[in-house]
């Protein structure tokens, strides 16, 4: 879909055309779900966040300014939604009991060894990231898993580059240490 086509759909949706909005949902929901999954690490919560994100998008379409990529705006909405999710104390408690196992969707869809391994790695890293503070986790997901630039992350989170780097440093340090421990354990188990 071309940028002009997308803009046309946005304009129609701004005037209440739900079919035009449906096309936007169909185009972007995989992306939104994928980002949300990196934060939550589980399918039901990622689906809930995706739903909330598009409802917010529908309600705030009037505020959309031309020239801004819809994905940039979506990133901002998803990140805020995920930050709220991470900050909620009840979720924090739940996270402590999350088991590190592959979700059905991943095992079902993955047929090749390399893919399984990568998806397993994603699960492990997502799980390890849950030990970080919400802000550190958000910076880590956006910069290292989503591959956004420093400027983009700062813009989405509305923080300075120094603050962003400081959070990123602590996040990477923790993930590196945990990954090293995880691999050491894994090696021990394999040898035994």
């Amino acid at each position: 879909m071309q940028y002009s086509d997308e803009l046309n759909l946005i304009e129609k949706a701004q005037h209440g055309d739900s079919q035009a909005f449906r096309k936007l949902v169909e185009k972007h929901q995989r992306f939104a779900y994928s980002v949300a999954f990196r934060f939550t690490g589980n399918a039901p919560d990622a689906e809930d966040i995706t739903q909330e994100v598009f409802i917010k998008l529908w309600r705030n379409l009037g505020k959309y300014k031309q020239g801004i990529k819809l994905t940039t705006w979506l990133y901002q909405i998803i990140t805020n939604q995920c930050l709220d999710y991470l900050k909620s104390a009840s979720r924090k408690n739940q996270m402590k009991h999350v088991e590190m196992k592959l979700s059905r969707q991943i095992t079902d869809e993955s047929n090749h060894g390399q893919q399984v391994e990568d998806r397993e790695l994603l699960q492990i890293v997502t799980h390890l990231a849950k030990q970080l503070t919400p802000r550190q986790q958000t910076v880590f997901v956006l910069r290292d898993l989503e591959g956004l630039s420093v400027d983009e992350v700062c813009k989405i989170l509305e923080i300075s580059a120094e603050k962003m780097k400081s959070n990123l440093y602590y996040a990477r340090q923790k993930i590196r240490e945990d990954l090293t421990l995880y691999y050491k354990d894994l090696t021990k188990t394999t040898i035994l």
Partner: protein, 183 residues
């Protein structure tokens, strides 16, 4: 460069300028501990680059789309939300200014009323739980004299008919608990 600085910069290697990267690399070539750290970061970066390309999809894409669309139509048909409507207007700059103006006027009226009141309340400085009231002397005096004048006039009226007979008028005033001298 010391190891402490290097430790942080190795973690933020991708975010450094090329000159800063050169400084870190030169430190790594001389320090074994930092070289080990850089190696483990390299491993982590490989892991991250492998997983960053993975796109996770919802189990049933079309079902999720339908759910979203159904939520949207529900939210559209929901009853008119007065609070949201008010809040949306509060976001307007003019409305904010009007509300600020009203607040200032109300505060001024409140402060003015406080200075006019015959009673003033004070918070004891050393004990915040102890509150006492003092008379706003000037206003209280004015109001008291005005009250006395009104009361005097009322009583005179009440006894007016008896003034033709002085004894009765004195008795009347005594009965109404008012000393003769006050006249």
């Amino acid at each position: 460069m010391n190891c402490k600085n290097a430790h942080q910069q190795i973690h933020l290697f991708k975010e450094l300028t090329s000159e800063e990267q050169d400084t870190v690399l030169s430190h790594i070539s001389e320090c074994e501990q930092c070289r080990e750290l850089a190696e483990s970061m390299k491993v982590m970066n490989t892991v991250l680059s492998r997983i960053s390309g993975i796109s996770v999809e919802p189990l049933h894409t079309s079902r999720l789309t339908n759910k979203i669309m159904s939520d949207i139509s529900k939210s559209d048909t929901q009853s008119f939300n007065l609070l949201e409507w008010i809040l949306s207007y509060i976001e307007l700059r003019q409305v904010k200014l009007i509300m600020a103006g009203i607040s200032v006027i109300l505060f001024t009226l409140f402060a003015f009323e406080q200075t006019r009141s015959p009673l003033k309340t004070n918070q004891h400085s050393s004990n915040s739980n102890f509150t006492y009231a003092v008379l706003n002397a000037k206003n209280f005096k004015d109001q008291l004299s005005s009250y006395k004048a009104r009361e005097k006039s009322r009583r005179i009226k009440a006894c007016r008919n008896l003034f033709t007979q002085p004894q009765l008028s004195v008795a009347c005033l005594r009965e109404k608990n008012m000393h003769f001298k006050t006249f």
